[in-house]
């Protein structure tokens, strides 16, 4: 029997209890490649079934990578050295550089933190859920708090993963650069946490699917998988999310915060492209390359399908909507569509650039509607300033 139909005939209270398990099952059955399943499967169980990120205690993820030392200090990657130099100059102090004195009222209609049309409110009506103006404003504010909470959790993942990547990377110039990224991520944790803590005064739990990705790449022993996961996929996701919010918010402190974070993130993805392009094209066998190509595809689909703010659903609509109905609301919300668009227009060209978008895999991307992003610019062709200009709708200088 189709699990979908099985869910439908279950009484409401039972369905609520088992729905998450069907979700987990769906992830595991949708992954076809056994090697990818070996990487994502155990992480899915820990994240979706055991909900390790929500157990209310610190999570321990054992590290299995090798710390790579080189006592000859080679000058091996001039482009990474250049990034290192730019990163040093681009440092900013999250405490003094942002206008923290700004009064933030997430319910103020004059200064909307996210726009009225961010969510598809018509869909709520269709499902018979009525929300008055105040509830709509509150729901939008909660969606923002959810997004920023996921950014914060993602940044914690990035902080620890960047430290691991710095240990494991085999380019010496990459290690120097990597240290600046660790500082960048710490600053991002600082500013997102401060914004949530003092301005929105709300913090959501980590989304189970985000936990799965972080768990999978933190525990992987292969340095290039960490790179692919963190520098390309998670950072790509972050750039998409930050970019969307930067574009949509009218709240001045948040806008300034995101502007500065985006500048840093642009460097991070650039670094990922530099390191992986070299490694994938010159150091990996075809079998290994394929495995990474499949892994990246599965994670891309996971990211496309699964960031659906179920935590907000549980808080607001658990007894009014089914998860499927909530999915429909989220999938048809203009803000979430914009978010996917920005995310994949950055991610897909980067995968192409590092050699993980061969003719073999393209039909799969085409099938899920992602191949149209193929022709975009990869990270090493776009600076943070250009990304911001694009989001602002400003005329752009031609890329160097």
């Amino acid at each position: 029997m189709d699990p979908e139909n099985l869910l439908k005939i279950l009484p409401d209270p039972v369905r609520h209890r088992v729905e998450p398990y069907f979700d987990a099952l769906e992830v595991m059955t949708s992954v076809k490649d056994p090697k990818v399943l070996a990487s994502l499967g155990p992480a899915s169980v820990r994240g979706l079934v055991f909900q390790r990120g929500k157990q209310g205690q610190p999570t321990l993820i054992p590290a299995t990578h090798d710390a790579y030392f080189d006592w000859s200090y080679p000058s091996d990657q001039p482009e990474m050295l250049e990034l290192y130099r730019r990163a040093k100059e681009g440092q900013w102090n999250g405490e003094t550089y942002l206008p923290w004195a700004t009064d933030v009222d997430p319910l103020d209609p004059e200064v909307p933190v996210i726009p009225e049309h961010f969510l598809n409110f018509d869909a709520f009506e269709e499902f018979g859920v009525k929300l008055d103006a105040r509830e709509r404003a509150q729901l939008r504010a909660d969606m923002l708090a959810w997004q920023l909470s996921q950014f914060l959790h993602g940044e914690q993942g990035a902080l620890l993963a960047a430290a691991q990547v710095t240990e494991a990377v085999q380019f010496f110039d990459g290690k120097l650069y990597g240290a600046t990224q660790v500082v960048d991520e710490a600053r991002h944790v600082e500013v997102f946490h401060r914004y949530l803590d003092t301005k929105l005064e709300k913090l959501y739990q980590i989304n189970d699917n985000l936990f799965v990705i972080i768990d999978a790449l933190m525990g992987d022993s292969r340095w290039d998988m960490k790179f692919l996961g963190m520098q390309i996929m998670v950072e790509g996701l972050a750039l998409g999310a930050f970019g969307t919010l930067y574009k949509l918010t009218k709240e001045p402190l948040l806008k300034e915060l995101l502007r500065n974070v985006i500048q840093d993130e642009a460097r991070h993805v650039h670094y990922g492209v530099l390191a992986l392009r070299e490694h994938v094209n010159h150091h990996l066998g075809e079998g290994e390359r394929r495995e990474r190509e499949d892994w990246a595809f599965e994670v891309a689909v996971l990211m496309r399908n699964r960031f659906r703010a179920y935590e907000v659903y549980e808080e607001w609509f658990e007894h009014k909507l089914t998860r499927k109905q909530w999915q429909h609301v989220v999938d048809t919300s203009p803000g979430m569509q914009e978010f996917r668009h920005v995310m994949f227009s950055r991610l897909v060209p980067n995968l192409r650039e590092i050699g993980l978008l061969s003719d073999r895999i393209r039909p799969h991307y085409d099938r899920v509607g992602l191949l149209r992003y193929m022709e975009g610019k990869a990270a090493h062709e776009v600076t943070g300033d250009q990304m911001l200009a694009e989001l602002d709708g400003r005329p752009q200088l031609s890329a160097a």
Binding site: L60, E95, E201, P252, K255, E311
Partner: protein, 398 residues
């Protein structure tokens, strides 16, 4: 060989985790689920930003450039994030401007009225040979990012004053214009008299703005221009240099009578300021009712620095004593670097926010600065421009 780290303890951790996992997995089936939000611990950030631990300027963006005269340009500024710039009329910002490979710090007064809706701007007049003023006059453009500290300074509007007598020379008009306009707009019981000296008519900054204020407030605002050259009937100005006799003659012509409710504000070239002060004091005005804003030309400032060598400084702050060694850096730089909480604002000797008391030893300051003779006599120095010249004990007063 690999050493296994405490296998028994790790096994115990694993088992505990497994138990927790099973509880969560089965709890869900019984209808329990973790709360979607995290109960927040005690706030880690309280209210306003804590005092900064370093002298780090913040960015502002130039959003409009207006040429006021051939030698003066106004830069309209936007704070990062668009937050309004809160200031008291008469205060200034410290700008760190890079030219010729060096960063120079300069003070420019905010010239707009401190009332809602006015766009923040500073007005910068060329100084002969001045690196920063000429750089900004030549290169300021929309989109330019500058780094600032402040607003700072105590040359500010006394809201209890009944009559403000403002004396400005040249670019000294910038804080004066802000004080005058704010008083006229926000304090309807006050009266304002402004005597403004310039070389020629073309040098008058804010000429139209001042004329408009005079038109709008004929009963409360009296304006008199003094021009060294080219005074005609059309300019409605007095000929001559703005000095003591000229000032007193103008005030007399305006039938000005000094009283306890009058406050005098003076800002301009130092020669003019000295002459005005002398004339006012001679006319019997108590010095407590005279306020002055002096901006030394940076080229004239004395510098002190590395030649002082390493000195041991005991800093009494926050109820404890910190032992520092300064090596040519200022007391403020050294204190902040050691983690002390030290107040400061302009970081260029112009506002006295960083005033500290020297209990023992010798501290030399860059001169001139805004410290008064009385404060000097009591042993105060400015930490931002003061450096230890001998072993010292310095107290930061709460």
């Amino acid at each position: 060989m690999r050493v296994r780290p405490l296998p028994v303890r790790r096994l115990g951790d694993r088992l505990r985790q497994l138990g927790q996992d099973v509880r969560f997995a089965t709890g869900r089936l019984r209808g329990r689920r973790p709360s979607p939000t995290i109960a927040r611990p005690v706030r880690s950030h309280r209210g306003e930003p804590r005092p900064s631990r370093s002298i780090q300027p913040r960015p502002v963006e130039v959003v409009r450039v207006v040429r006021e005269t051939p030698d003066a340009v106004s830069l309209y500024l936007r704070e990062a994030g668009g937050a309004p710039l809160a200031f008291r009329p008469g205060q200034f910002l410290s700008f760190d401007v890079e030219t010729g490979g060096r960063v120079h710090r300069r003070a420019y007064s905010l010239a707009h009225a401190a009332v809602p809706g006015r766009e923040a701007h500073v007005t910068i007049k060329r100084v002969e040979g001045g690196k920063v003023s000429n750089h900004l006059n030549d290169h300021a453009a929309v989109g330019m990012r500058l780094r600032v500290l402040g607003p700072s300074g105590s040359f500010t509007l006394d809201e209890t004053a009944e009559h403000l007598v403002l004396v400005a020379g040249g670019s000294g008009i910038t804080p004066i214009a802000s004080i005058a306009e704010t008083a006229l707009l926000a304090h309807p019981a006050s009266r304002v008299t402004l005597i403004y000296g310039n070389r020629s008519e073309a040098d008058i900054i804010f000429r139209e703005r001042l004329a408009r204020l005079a038109d709008e407030h004929p009963e409360r605002f009296r304006l008199a221009h003094v021009l060294e050259a080219g005074a005609t009937d059309a300019t409605a100005a007095t000929a001559g240099r703005l000095d003591g006799p000229t000032l007193m003659a103008r005030l007399e012509a305006l039938t000005h009578a000094d009283d306890a409710g009058t406050r005098y504000y003076v800002c301009g070239p130092s020669g003019m300021m000295d002459a005005v002060r002398t004339a006012l004091v001679a006319a019997g005005v108590p010095t407590g009712r005279i306020r002055e804003e002096r901006f030394a030309r940076p080229e004239e400032r004395t510098s002190v620095g590395p030649e002082l060598g390493a000195q041991r400084v005991t800093l009494r702050v926050d109820g404890r004593e910190l032992e520092l060694v300064t090596d040519g850096d200022t007391l403020l730089e050294a204190g902040l670097a050691a983690g002390a909480t030290m107040p400061f604002s302009c970081a260029m000797g112009g506002c006295a926010a960083c005033r500290v008391k020297v209990v023992e030893g010798q501290v030399v300051m860059e001169e001139p600065n805004c410290l008064t003779a009385e404060e000097r006599a009591e042993g105060y120095v400015l930490a931002c421009v003061g450096r230890a010249a001998s072993p010292c004990v310095v107290e930061v007063e709460g």
